[in-house]
Each structure stands twice: as structure tokens, then as C-alpha cells.
């Protein structure tokens, strides 16, 4: 036999199966490009050594993308080989031994992998500079000049994807080797039984989906959200699988019972067609649905965190500079004021938007208007923080002179709810004279995740009396804490210099206090959140590609199954137009069912996600809603493009002439 015989057959096969193999190769090339770039960023010298946390993040990204690539390409390949079994069966019957077929497959894999690897790595190198600049921009580092091609990254990429292609080849050889020629010829087409209705699974699915949604909707406290979100996610995943596999078929069969509805040309064909479609594809569609939900959640959260960094900073640091200390005497407080004044004046900055008060904070359990300090369980949603502020400090802050009696308080609710006009501190009752709309005349109080109440009382003695009552008498009288937040008009750099020198001066004066400011934290927050954002974007794109490709293959595979079905319908008197319409409606359903469900999932998860974002100091719900909306739109756009392409290819396969 001619030495070139097998390579030639392999090349011919690839050409013949472009429709199937090309998407696989494009997917391979894209994954290789992405993996190379992630690997490149993880080792790139241009990023510099200043940010270890970014490197760790990128290293993690490499693993995620690596693992995902293995699963994704293996899955896609198994689709391919299922479709091509018939072709190999024919070669087998025409007299090729299985080892010869293996040889043909080897050459096919050789060609496709060489092309994919070469194109992928070359493309990866070409876009690497762009990706690097994107990353540097995301983490707001200075853009470095130069171009580098780390050999290490190329080698890892070659090793990983070479390995994946080899595994796929071995899998394919086994798949063909284990099959009998008759089976090979039949390929995927075997007599299909009508799926049974699984009511129990349907009910389980409805219950667990409902329970998951219920948990997501009813979780109140952000801290509890972290725990319950996980359970809710598991329940929703179980629910999604059950409802896609059993629920869809049950629903379709119920439709079939309604004769008036069912025996209409449109419904007749799509309902019965969908029953089979769902049988074959339910699990895959459930996968796609969950993948799509992940993509949307990951993308919208990382984007909104990144876009909301300024909000985060503002939440964490309501003032440019915050000086605070525990157990500060009045004299020490005056000293601190003097130090601050001196430092800011020396730096040539003026102070504005001051928030200055003394207070004592007690962590308590809340039951409506009743409070008691207790051994705290953190998952409890009834935890609250009470901040007691003497009347004197409040008057100064708000420019409103007030005089409270012994049994009166003012209440400012930063987060939470106290009903009624009486507050009960473990037996010690006070009348709420006024509920305050804001605490200060001109500044913000940091909002927190748990319930926060600011209570203005007559004086320091009252604070201590309440403290004792809350703790059942176990209370040591102490000085109040001091909080001084203010904005300055200096530049970023000037503020970055001011804060350490302020801290130094305060330490020198011997007062136990700290100075912090947004400008000092900004860089590290940008690196962390920017890195997360970049990673989210990267993974999002990868997931979108995977989702869309899997669905493309599913539709093509189905097209071959449906071909015969539609031929028969045309013979029995269905017009070309009707066939086309029916195809569109079915492909549309299969395509958009996962996306639609993913959007519903997201809608129910929305309250919980916003609460968890609050843990990260992002409280801008509107921003998150907008990011989620945009993510869904972009996703839907990609989806629609692929849908159009798929519907066209599908129609070409199914349509007889």
C-alpha cells in the first residue's frame, strides 16, 4: 500500500466533514489562545513583582481554564465521533481493518491538532500584548513597554493541549474499536422509545427549585446569605436537572392530552418533536442552563464590583481620612484634634465635611425593640450593633442644640428596624423622642452589613448605665471611643503622604489611635478587584464560547435525526414554509430555553447576590442590576448570532432540495 494512502484519506475526511470539524478546530484554537494568554500573564515579566496577589489570582485562572479546556474539548470531541461513526463503519466494511482506521484517525488528529496548536499559539502571541494592556488597565497599573514571548507559557500550552488531543484520539479509537460494523453503520440512529413520564422526579424538581428560590428570596442578613446561598444553588441545580429531564416531558405529555390544542399543525409537530428532543437533550440543556447562569452571575458581579470600586471605597471610607481610637479621654480627643489640624495645615490642606463624635458600641441581640448583649452567633440575623453617642457630641455634629431627659433617646437607624416609641435595653426602658433622618449635618456614617442603630443619649453616665443593663451588670466603665472623619482637598499623592505622617504624629503623642484613608487602600483594592474583573471576563468569554458551541453541535446532530422526519412530513403534505416554520420554532425553543431559565434563576438570586455584594462593600443595587442586564444582553446577542447560523445549517441539513 502506498505510504501516503492513510494521510491522504485523513485529509479527505477532514475536508468532507468541515461542517463538523471546523467548529471543533475553532473552539480548540480559541481555548489554546486563551490558555496561552492566561499562562503568559501568570509568568510575564512585564507585570513586575510588586503584586503577588495578582499573580496568585492569574495562576488560579490558569488552573480553571486548563481544567475547563479538558472537559470542554473532550465533550465536543465525543459529539464529533458519535456523528462520524457511520463513516468509519463504511471504511471498515470496505475492507479497512480497525488498525488501519486507527491510523486514519491518527493522521486526522495529527493534522487538526498541529493546525490548532500552531494557529492557537500564534494567535495567542499576537493578542498577548493587547490582553496584557487590558489587564494592566483593569488593575490600574502603569502600562509597561516591550513585548515578550515566554517559552514557559508556550511549553505548558503545548503539553496541555497535546495531551488533550491525544486523550481524544485514544477515546475515538476505542469508541470505534469496541463497536461492531453494523453498529458503526447505524451510528446514532437506533429505534427511539417514547420517554416515560417521571412524575416523582418532576415533583422533586419542583420542590427543590421552589425551595431554592424561597431561600434566595427570604434570606435577610448578608452573613446568613453566604451560607444559605450555597444551599440554594445546590437546590436550584437539582431542580433544574429534574425539571429539564422529567418536568419538560411531563409538561409536554400534559399538552398532548388537550386535544383541541394538540391537534393543530403547529403544536402537533412541535409538541411531539419536543418530547423526543428533550429526551435526548434534557441533561445537556440543563448543563447549558447552569453554565449560562454561572456566566451571567460571574460576569455581572465582577463587572459591577469593578465598576463600583469607587462606591466600595466610599462605603468603606465615608470620609477621605478617618481617625479613630478606643477609650479616648476628652483630653486625648482634644490632643488628636490638634494633631490633625497641625498635620493638615502643614500639608497645606483644608479640612471639610467633618464627622466627629464619641461613642460606645455594644453588640447585642435584637428582638423588635428589646436588646440584650449575649454570646453571639454570627449566622443569626438578629444581631445588631448599638452605637451610643452623648447628646453633646450630637449637638455639635448636627448644629442642633437639644436637651434630652434621663429617660429619652434620639434614634438614627443606619440599617434595620426598631418598632414603637420605646426602646428596651434588657429591662431599662427609654422613650424615643425623635427618629433622626441623618446623624450629621453634612457627612455619611459607614453603613454596615448587620443592623446598626445610633442612639443619642443624655450623657456618658447614661451610656454606662445602659451598658451595665445590657450586660446584666457585667460592665466596666470606660472612656468612649473617638471617631473623626474628614475630607481634605489634597491630591491623591498628597493624601497618600498625609496619612502615614498623621499616623506617625498620633503614635508619637502616645494616643492609641489609627488613621486610614481611601487613597492608601485604593491601589490594593484596584489590584484585587481589577484582577477578579479580568478573570471574570476571561472565564465569561470562555464559558459563552463553550455554551454556544455545545448547543451548535447538539442542533447539528439533531438535524441529521430530523432530516428523515421532515422528509416524511413533506411527502404527507406539509409545505416547505410549514417545515421551515416548525424547524425555527423548535430550534428556537431548544436554544432559548436554557437562556430563559438562566435569566429566571438570576432574577430569583438577585436579592441574595446583592446582599453578598454588600459583604464586599458594594451596596449599589442599581449598578448591579444594570451590569446584570448588560451581561444578559451581550450573552443573548452572541446567542442570537449563533442561533441564526445554526438554524441556517440545520435547515440545510433537514431541507430535502
Amino acid at each position: 500500500m502506498n505510504k501516503l494512502f492513510f494521510p491522504k484519506i485523513a485529509a479527505g475526511n477532514i475536508k468532507k466533514n468541515t461542517k463538523m470539524i471546523l467548529p471543533y478546530m475553532i473552539a480548540s484554537i480559541c481555548t489554546i489562545m486563551m490558555f496561552y494568554n492566561m499562562r503568559f500573564l501568570a509568568v510575564a515579566k512585564l507585570i513586575g513583582s510588586e503584586s503577588e496577589s495578582l499573580r496568585v489570582l492569574l495562576g488560579l485562572g490558569c488552573y480553571v481554564i486548563g481544567i475547563f479546556s479538558v472537559i470542554f474539548l473532550f465533550y465536543t470531541n465525543s459529539f464529533l465521533i458519535k456523528q462520524r461513526k457511520k463513516e468509519f463503519g463504511l471504511l471498515n466494511i470496505l475492507g479497512m481493518e480497525k488498525k488501519h482506521i486507527a491510523l486514519v484517525m491518527f493522521f486526522e488528529t495529527l493534522y487538526t491538532s498541529l493546525i490548532s496548536l500552531a494557529a492557537g499559539i500564534l494567535g495567542g502571541i499576537l493578542i498577548s500584548k493587547l490582553i496584557l494592556m487590558l489587564l494592566l488597565r483593569a488593575v490600574s497599573f502603569d502600562v509597561a513597554f516591550g513585548f515578550e514571548i515566554p517559552v514557559k507559557a508556550i511549553l505548558t500550552t503545548l503539553a496541555l493541549f497535546g495531551g488533550i488531543f491525544m486523550i481524544n484520539l485514544v477515546h475515538n479509537i476505542f469508541a470505534v474499536h469496541l463497536a461492531k460494523p453494523v453498529e458503526l453503520l447505524k451510528g446514532g440512529q437506533q429505534g427511539e422509545k417514547e420517554p416515560k413520564t417521571k412524575w416523582i422526579m418532576t415533583v422533586i424538581g419542583m420542590i427543590s427549585l421552589g425551595a431554592g428560590y424561597f431561600i434566595a428570596l427570604t434570606t435577610e442578613s448578608p452573613l446568613a446569605a453566604l451560607n444559605s446561598f450555597f444551599i440554594a444553588v445546590l437546590l436550584v441545580i437539582v431542580g433544574t436537572y429534574c425539571l429539564f429531564t422529567a418536568g419538560s416531558i411531563a409538561a409536554l405529555k400534559v399538552f398532548r392530552k388537550f386535544k383541541k390544542f394538540y391537534y393543530q399543525p403547529k403544536h402537533f409537530i412541535s409538541v411531539s418533536g419536543m418530547i423526543y428532543r428533550m429526551k435526548q437533550n434534557a441533561a445537556g440543556l440543563a448543563n447549558i442552563c447552569i453554565l449560562a447562569t454561572i456566566v451571567i452571575v460571574v460576569l455581572s458581579t465582577t463587572i459591577s464590583i469593578y465598576v463600583g470600586i469607587e462606591d466600595v471605597l466610599r462605603n468603606r471610607y465615608p470620609s477621605n481620612i478617618i481617625v479613630s481610637g478606643q477609650e479616648i479621654t476628652d483630653e486625648q480627643a482634644n490632643q488628636l484634634d490638634a494633631v490633625i489640624l497641625k498635620q493638615t495645615t502643614e500639608a497645606g490642606m483644608s479640612v471639610s465635611n467633618e464627622t466627629r463624635f464619641r461613642s460606645t458600641t455594644v453588640a447585642v441581640l435584637q428582638d423588635k425593640a428589646w436588646f440584650k448583649a449575649d454570646a453571639l452567633t454570627y449566622s443569626s440575623s438578629s444581631i445588631a450593633l448599638l452605637h451610643f453617642i452623648p447628646e453633646e457630641d450630637y449637638s455639635r455634629m448636627s448644629d442642633k442644640p437639644i436637651s434630652l431627659s434621663d429617660k429619652e433617646v434620639l434614634l438614627y437607624t443606619a440599617n434595620g428596624d426598631i418598632p414603637g416609641d420605646i426602646v428596651d435595653f434588657n429591662g431599662l426602658e427609654f422613650a424615643v423622642r425623635e427618629r433622626l433622618g441623618s446623624l450629621t449635618a453634612n457627612s455619611v456614617i459607614p453603613s454596615d452589613l448587620i443592623h446598626n442603630y445610633y442612639i443619642v443619649v443624655k450623657d456618658k453616665e447614661t451610656v454606662n448605665k445602659i451598658g451595665a443593663a445590657l450586660n446584666d451588670g457585667q460592665w466596666e466603665e470606660a472612656e468612649l471611643a473617638y471617631y473623626y472623619g474628614f475630607d481634605v482637598d489634597g491630591s491623591r499623592e498628597a493624601q497618600q503622604l498625609l496619612i502615614p505622617s498623621l499616623q506617625q504624629a498620633m503614635t508619637d503623642s502616645g494616643i492609641n489611635s489609627t488613621a486610614e484613608g481611601a487613597e492608601v487602600s485604593r491601589d490594593s483594592i484596584y489590584t484585587l478587584y481589577g484582577g477578579l474583573f479580568f478573570l471574570g471576563l476571561f472565564l465569561g468569554v470562555l464559558f459563552i464560547m463553550a455554551t454556544v458551541l455545545i448547543i451548535y453541535y447538539k442542533q447539528i446532530a439533531e438535524g441529521y435525526d430530523d432530516k428523515e422526519r421532515f422528509e416524511i412530513m413533506q411527502k404527507v403534505g406539509m409545505s416547505h414554509q410549514e417545515v421551515k416554520k416548525s424547524i425555527h420554532s423548535q430550534v428556537l425553543t431548544v436554544f432559548f430555553l436554557p437562556l430563559g431559565t438562566a435569566v429566571i434563576h438570576l432574577a430569583f438570586a438577585f436579592p441574595v447576590i446583592t446582599k453578598m455584594l454588600a459583604v464586599l462593600n458594594l451596596t449599589n443595587v442599581k449598578l448591579f442590576a444594570v451590569c446584570a442586564g448588560i451581561t444578559i444582553l451581550v450573552f443573548a446577542l452572541f446567542y442570537t448570532i449563533v442561533y441564526t447560523l445554526t438554524a441556517r445549517t440545520y435547515y440545510k441539513i433537514v431541507s430535502p432540495q
Binding site: K193, Y263, P265, S272, K571, G573, S575, E578
Partner: protein
């Protein structure tokens, strides 16, 4: 006035890249009377399936015309052709062409559903036909659950339920064992006895011997025809057999 008239039908296939054109039908002319049971015979490649497809308006001829009830089916527009086919023709195919996604009943209903008939009407039409074909016990089953003979009877029921002017059968016994074949041919004779016009393409002599008339096609032309008239099936069988032998040997001499 014949029910079906086929005049000077010609069909030439050209491959996409302009290879040698293949002439499937060179000049076919014949007619079928109302209530007639006609078989068309010919070897593989003689053009009989092409002929059937053109009569069925699935394929279009290069030239010539097909008149069904004096309406030229060749000139019907693409839009109306499906409805025309649905309302006037019934099909029985060799490989049954049942949809595995439908129950037996729904398979039979398919053309009526496409014609937007109400469920009550469909059911009213189905009952007598199902009873007559002996398939009322399997209506709720699915194609993969029933035998070949039952599948073919289902296909016949689907063809009959629209009350078509003409039933076209393409090798209806081709996938059946001899018992099921006999049963089906018996059924065709009965249906024909009720006045149903049938046109059947086959190369089974046994199948053709049931027909009242047999047309022989060779190289894209009607070569010969036989009438059953008062002959028995057995006599008809011998006559067809002789004709085929004559065609085959005669053909060999010409080549």
C-alpha cells in the same frame, strides 16, 4: 375522461457541475381511469420511481404534463402544491415512512392535522378505517412497538383518511414478509373494490398480479402493457413473468 393522464413526460437529470445529463424518462404517456388498479413494473433504474415522484408532484418533469382530474399538476405553484398533494393523493411507501415521534393514531391523523381538521372530524373518519384495516387495537401504540405489516396498514390508513382521488404506492410490499405482503395486497384489492383508484410501482410479480393492468417501463418509456381482464391471479403471474423475460432477453439483444 380518465382520472389521471400522463402526457409525453420527460425528465433529464444534470449533475451540478455539468456532467453528462442522465435521461430518466424519455417519453412516457399513459392514463388511468377512475377506479382502476394499475401496476407499473420495470427493472431498477428504469425510471419508475422518477415517474411516481413526478405524478406525486414531489419532483418536476423537464417537459410534459400530468393531469389529475384534468388539472395540470406540473403548473401548480410551489405554495399550493403541498395542500394539493394532501387533499388529492395518498401515499404508501416501501419503508412505511411513519414518524417515530407519533403514536399510530397520530401518524394517521398527520395529513388531517396539517389540513386543519377538527379532532372530532378526524376521529369520526378514523374509526371506520381503523376497523376495516384491523388496527383499532394498536392505535395508542408507537411505530417501534408494532410489526411491519401493522406499520404498512397504518400507512395505508394514513393514505386513505384524506379520501384521496388517487393512492400512490411505491413498492408497498418491499419491506414485508410474504404473509404480510399477501395481507396487504388483499387489502389493496378490497379498497380498489370499493372504488379507490390505485397506482402502484413494484417489481414484485406477485404484487403486480393483483392489479387490473400492468405497465412495463424500460429505459424511460412505456414498453408494454398487460390487462388482467378475466384472467386469474395465477395466469396473470405467468403472463407478467413471460413479459419480463421477454423484455430482459430482448433488451440484451439490443445492447
Amino acid at each position: 375522461m380518465p382520472l389521471l393522464e400522463v402526457n409525453n413526460l420527460k425528465k433529464t437529470y444534470t449533475t451540478r457541475f455539468g456532467g453528462t445529463p442522465v435521461q430518466a424518462l424519455s417519453n412516457v404517456t399513459f392514463s388511468v381511469e377512475q377506479g382502476e388498479y394499475t401496476a407499473i413494473m420495470g427493472e431498477s433504474g428504469s425510471g419508475k420511481t422518477t415517474l411516481l415522484n413526478i405524478i406525486a408532484s414531489i419532483d418536476r418533469p423537464t417537459s410534459g404534463e400530468v393531469l389529475l382530474d384534468s388539472k395540470n399538476t406540473v403548473s401548480i405553484s410551489e405554495k399550493e402544491i403541498s395542500a394539493f398533494r394532501r387533499d388529492n393523493l395518498g401515499f404508501v411507501f416501501q419503508d412505511f415512512n411513519l414518524l417515530d415521534t407519533f403514536s399510530i393514531q397520530d401518524n394517521i391523523f398527520l395529513p388531517l392535522v396539517l389540513a386543519k381538521k377538527s379532532y372530532e372530524e378526524m376521529n369520526a373518519r378514523l374509526q371506520p378505517i381503523a376497523k376495516r384495516l384491523g388496527i383499532n387495537g394498536i392505535l395508542a401504540k408507537f411505530p417501534y412497538e408494532v410489526s411491519g405489516g401493522e406499520k404498512q396498514r397504518t400507512a395505508v390508513a394514513r393514505a386513505l383518511i384524506t379520501n384521496p382521488k388517487l393512492i400512490l404506492a411505491d413498492e408497498p410490499t418491499g419491506s414485508l414478509d410474504s404473509r404480510a405482503s399477501s395481507g396487504l395486497l388483499q387489502l389493496f384489492s378490497e379498497i380498489n373494490g370499493d372504488g379507490q383508484t390505485i397506482l402502484m410501482v413494484t417489481h414484485s410479480i406477485k404484487a403486480a398480479s393483483h392489479a387490473q393492468r400492468v405497465l412495463f417501463i424500460k429505459d424511460g418509456e412505456v414498453y408494454h402493457q398487460l390487462y388482467k381482464a378475466s384472467h386469474t391471479k395465477e395466469e396473470m403471474y405467468l403472463k407478467i413473468s413471460d413479459t419480463l423475460t421477454m423484455i430482459a432477453t430482448g433488451g440484451a439483444r439490443n445492447e
